[in-house]
Amino acid sequence: MEPSLTRYIWRHTRKQQIWILAIVLLSMIPYFMSFNLPKLIVNGPIQGKGFEQPGATLPFMRLHYDLPFIGEVQFFSGFQLDRTATLLALSIVFLLLVVINGLFKLYINTYKGRLGERMLRRIRFDLIDRVLRFPPIYFKRVKSAEVATMVKDEVEPLGGFIGDAFLQPVLLGGQALTAMLFIMVQNVWLGMIAVVIVVIQIVLIPRMRRRLLVLGRQRQLTARALSGRVGEIVDGIGAVHVHDTSNYERADIAARLGLIFKIRFDLYQWKFMVKFLNNFLAQLTPFLFYMIGGYLVIAGRLDVGQLVAVIGAYKDLPGPMKELIDWDQDRQDVQVKYQQVVEQFSVEDIIAPSIGALTIDDPGRMTNPLSAVGLSIADDGGAMLLNRISMQVRPGETVALVSTSTGGAEALAEAFARLNWPESGKVASGADDLLELPEAVTGRRMSYASSDVFLFQASLRDNLLYGLKHAPLTSVTYEGAAADKQRWNIDEARRSGNPDFDIHSDWIDYVSAGATGPHDLFEAVRRVLDAVLLSRDILDLGLRSSADLTRHTKLAGRIVELRAALRTRLEQEGLRELVVPFEPGAYNTEATIGQNLLFGAAAGPELADKALAANPYFASVLKQAGLDRTLYEMGMEIAEQAIELFADLPPDHQFFQQLAFMSAEEIPAYETLLQRLKNRPYEAVSEADRAMIITLSFAYIEPRHRFGLLTDELMGKIVAARNQFYENLPPQLQNAIERYDPDKYIAAATVMDNVLFGRVGTNHPDAPDRIRSIVYDILDELGLYAELLDVGLDFNVGAGGRRLTGGQRQKLDVARALLKRPDFLILNRPLSALDQRIQDKVLRNVLEEARRDGHSPAIVWVVTSPAMAMMFDRVIVFDSGQLVEDGTHETLLAGNGIFKELLS
């Protein structure tokens, strides 16, 4: 990028800057005309100059010019108008000029704004484009949050400045110069005084502002460092708590904020100091005018009229001067910001744009062997991880890299993946340096997975398919308004130097996954998930989440069949009492009273949780059913019991997990409420208090809580209230609840709840596990296994994939690498979070899956345990950055080398 902001702006907006300048100059004509017009109106029609005779007329809009040599030329003789008509005509012209000036202003401001925003978009894109091309080593040194602030906040002020970059100095300079010239014409000496003061201003003020710039730069750097630290605290929050260092962090942040405060306060002080001086100088000139000019008048060397004119003209000078100086300040300020950012983004060895160029066509297979030639790799501190290694991996060969703890096999795998650049030597594919191959080849024909997994905050599916999204493969056709919008998008993107790749296109490269389109991709996905033993985890996630019914129609369509199959199976295995099913006409003893009353899943906030008891319609139903009082009394009983049990416990006591009615924080509130309401008749209790108490009863489950509060009569009343509730359900609540219906899928509930359609009894400790395995069996029998897997794939993995376990993340990474069906599969201790038994199993599966359908990729696997090497064609052993052994498993075992030592 250009080191100078001015040059950067000029390079990209030259034409627009000239255009807007021309428009501004053009706008000056009506602007100055509107200055002259009031004089014409007052002198002419109002004071009657030229209309002395009654009925006199004057020409209006006469166009005539005095041309040299030719004399006066008249183009248009004008309309003859009388006094009133002239007043009207001139006033209308005045109005017209107001409108024209306004429109010019609107156009100019809009144009400048758009220009600035486009440039801002361009700068931000350029910066991120560079981030995408930084060499890997750079990322070991920067904090992501700092890069983010630079792109987001630090370049933001540039947008506002860009429109004024060239316009403002020309305009204001012109104005200031005109005023200056006017003073000079009146009196040279007074003019000289004004010039001297202006020169002092121009020289002194920017000099003083230099300190402002230094402070501004410090402010920028400290703020950036602060956001880096905040990002670090968020990412490392676990470490902070584990080591009780939160106060250390507090101290660090407080110190940083203190520093930032000091810088900002200095900045303010200095800024106002400069302002004061600037104003003082501006006011000093009139003082000199009065004194010196007055003296000159007294001495008779200047007449009063001139002095007044000079002082009048001087009024127009400080305005533009001040703005000009402000503009200069802005310029320096954004220049500093720009430089600061550009410095950070100017890195050596940046990856050439051609390496990452968009390639739509399939680049063809990598048929050349992958080799390391005299390869040395150093870590950031300069220590050698690999020392002049030469080796070759032939296509189709499976190689285990076995390494002692300082062996360096991991560095080799990273070098193959281009994540670690050689210190000397090179990695080559055939004769080509791997670093010079486009990513379109290495990113599609090679795969890499390691123990250090990064997942994006998106669904499992998106993360899994991420490795296939190389290029927009379909062109989407837009119609109507969408087409216009798309045209606008493309046009704007081009004007800001952004690419116009369509994010809504289908980016998934189905062919490389061995599929032909979206319909059969799932098969490939399922195979790789099975291979890495992740399917079961995803099924569990699927069971626990609610399915998106627009996508998973099969599940909803066959829910009745599923529920029936579950009942039959439970019956067959004699496990009937494990699940108490929901039946429209019966009370479910294992469900809460609230669930029994509502008999449905809340689909909106109106009837969910704590809002239920306070809902006016629901309260009226309870009243009609004669339940309000009973439930209130029950709530009081529960409150008493709960407070008796828990009041003495500290709020963080683990027993509170067992208290379903209220949270530890609510206990004191309920304690006072209970004291207030005790012995007060039900009728005297306010609605809000009633709701507070009744809510407690909604969480009650007799077999679990065992307070002995539920009678058969009460159960009957609750079921009756349930029916009443649905009979008169007001329209605004229709969408707030989905009634439990044995024949219908409940969209707001989880898949598991839908299949169970009942509650698991509390009296059976291992019931959930048993039921889950039965549910899987049934789903498999009914051919819905794939559907459930698909529901699980909707699961959002959270920031950095943190909602998954370390092992799950690693499995997903391997699955993603496998899905691409590469020619070279590089796996760098990919399953280190799993135990050895699972690792062995996944290893076997992966080797098999990679070679399915006659595919034969080369596989390079940095193994965590030397015993795993048995599964490979070839074993290469590294020790202290050297390749020490290379051969088949048998030959290495026969020799008495390090490998044998490692194995024992």
């Binding site: 049990l645 006591h653 027993f655 307070f707 009296n763 400790p765």
Partner: protein, 148 residues
């Protein structure tokens, strides 16, 4: 069976007899009531110990694996506690417990149990007494076995 009945039962368990009823109620409330039918296994020898059990009603057998299959070494009657050793020693289960009749138990989770011991020294002392008692019995049995 209601919470207050369970408290009555717990009071009859020697281990808990020194604890005031309010605390026993808390213990009962925070524990799970679990039913087993005859023949079902509460836990197996070698499993990790995650809970102790108080028998509320019914009987259970304590079985120990041997070369000739499981041998019944003792019987559990209502009001007895079982499974506390694995919790205290962080070891695996030393025996299998199987319901002999249909069985109702109170399952006290490990972390709850340890918390209780910390908070109620009288319970801990009682616990030590019971364990010491068992140890002396075991020692006596061992001497008998040696002499025989």
């Amino acid at each position: 069976m209601l919470l207050k009945d369970e408290v009555g039962m717990l009071q009859r368990v020697p281990l808990f007899s020194g604890i005031e009823p309010a605390k026993l109620k808390l213990l009962a409330f925070t524990s799970d009531r679990v039913n087993y039918s005859a023949g079902e296994i509460l836990f197996r020898q070698g499993d990790e110990g995650d809970a102790a059990y108080v028998i509320l009603s019914g009987k259970a057998d304590i079985l120990v694996d041997s070369d000739s299959g499981p041998i019944k070494v003792a019987e559990l009657l209502p009001n007895s506690i079982v499974g506390e050793i694995a919790i205290l020693c962080n070891s695996s289960r030393t025996a299998t417990v199987r319901a002999a009749t249909s069985l109702e138990v109170l399952r006290i989770r490990k972390d709850h149990f340890l918390r209780l011991m910390k908070e109620f020294p009288e319970m801990t002392i009682e616990m030590v007494r019971v364990l010491a008692d068992r140890l002396s019995h075991t020692t006596a049995d061992l001497i008998d076995a040696r002499n025989a």
